[in-house]
Symmetry: C2
Subunit: 179 residues, 2 copies
DNA sequence: ATCTCATGTAACTATCATAGTTACATGAGA
DNA sequence: TCTCATGTAACTATGATAGTTACATGAGAT
């Protein structure tokens, strides 16, 4: 089950495309999920979106969405409202949310760094390698965050806008989207 | 079981230190393992080292070592000889082996890149994010490899040499090594 | 009031990657 | 031919994360 309904913020592709519910979000990372959700929330603007709706769009489970958004809420990137008419809303304009902020909000240690087990062996070679790799990974992490800080959600949204325009122009051949 | 015997290439720390066999190499990555093995082989020079010996030093299993070294052999970084007096030997001087070469030899896709599942949903937002992240990860991968190419095994060995000297100077207080 | 919707969260299962293990075939000296 | 060591398949164990179920909590709608 992962089809769209005409009224929502998505481009209407109903009946044409669907994704296999159980094999989709298998090994793709927390960052990807969070960005996708945020992009949808940015599209929705002020109107709250339920985790159920988001889950349908992302072909995943509502609880998975809530888990991810819980972290983003603590970081002040989104807000949530319970009950009737409730749901999730983006807390800042998309241009004011950097991918670095999202990455940080996820506590995304380990997205790059493999994580290290403390060295109990006393092997000096191991120590040298541990330190070298620690330094190296820290350096890469810095580069990664710096680069992510330079990209905003609005940049992704712009890219999305470009795609939508392209899609509208080629609307005659929707089959090309299946490739 | 992970104690050293006095005659080998390791600094003799017998009886002083041991590591818990079952909880050591749990989440540390293929690169770390390969580098550690290579560093030991570099220390050993021309004399072949058995996977059993290496496993004892690294507190892991001989088959794990052989699995890792099989990849490195295909890349021409190490050689192996069967039978009596056999074992593993480093194929080039340590200065001529870059960490980038090791990384490549491991086919270490996924050390950084989370890997992506093909997008079947047709969601344009998803596509924009997929491409942005693909580009981003490719960029980081390039930076990572470039940086790794700039470090040789000999650099790590030099670091090891420095440590050994320090250790020898402070040999009176071996307890400090336990911290 | 209470009904319904939606979040918040705990607890469980499923899946995947990798480390660890066992077992055995193969090849090379002694 | 005996022993050592690699080469490899097949299995188990572990940990991370996605997916699922279930239920408590809170906030409007009636």
């Amino acid at each position: 089950m992962c089809s769209r309904s005409p009224g929502d913020a998505m481009i209407a592709l109903d009946g044409v495309l669907s994704c296999n519910y159980h094999s989709s979000m298998k090994r793709d990372g927390k960052l990807h999920l969070a960005l996708h959700v945020l992009a949808h929330l940015a599209e929705a603007g002020d109107r709250p979106t339920t985790s159920e709706d988001l889950a349908a769009h992302l072909c995943t489970n509502a609880v998975v969405i809530r888990r991810s958004l819980a972290g983003l809420r603590e970081a002040g990137l989104v807000t949530s409202v319970k009950g009737h008419g409730g749901g999730w809303t983006i807390a800042r304009p998309a241009a004011a949310i950097s991918l670095g902020a999202v990455y940080a909000a996820l506590g995304a240690r380990g997205e790059l760094t493999p994580g290290r087990v403390p060295d109990l062996s006393g092997c000096l070679i191991e120590r040298a390698i541990d330190e070298a790799l620690d330094d190296f990974y820290a350096e890469m992490e810095t580069l990664l965050v710096r680069r992510l800080d330079g990209i905003s959600l609005a940049d992704l949204a712009a890219d999305f806008g470009r795609r939508r325009a392209e899609w509208a122009a080629n609307a005659q051949t929707p089959a090309a989207l299946n490739g």
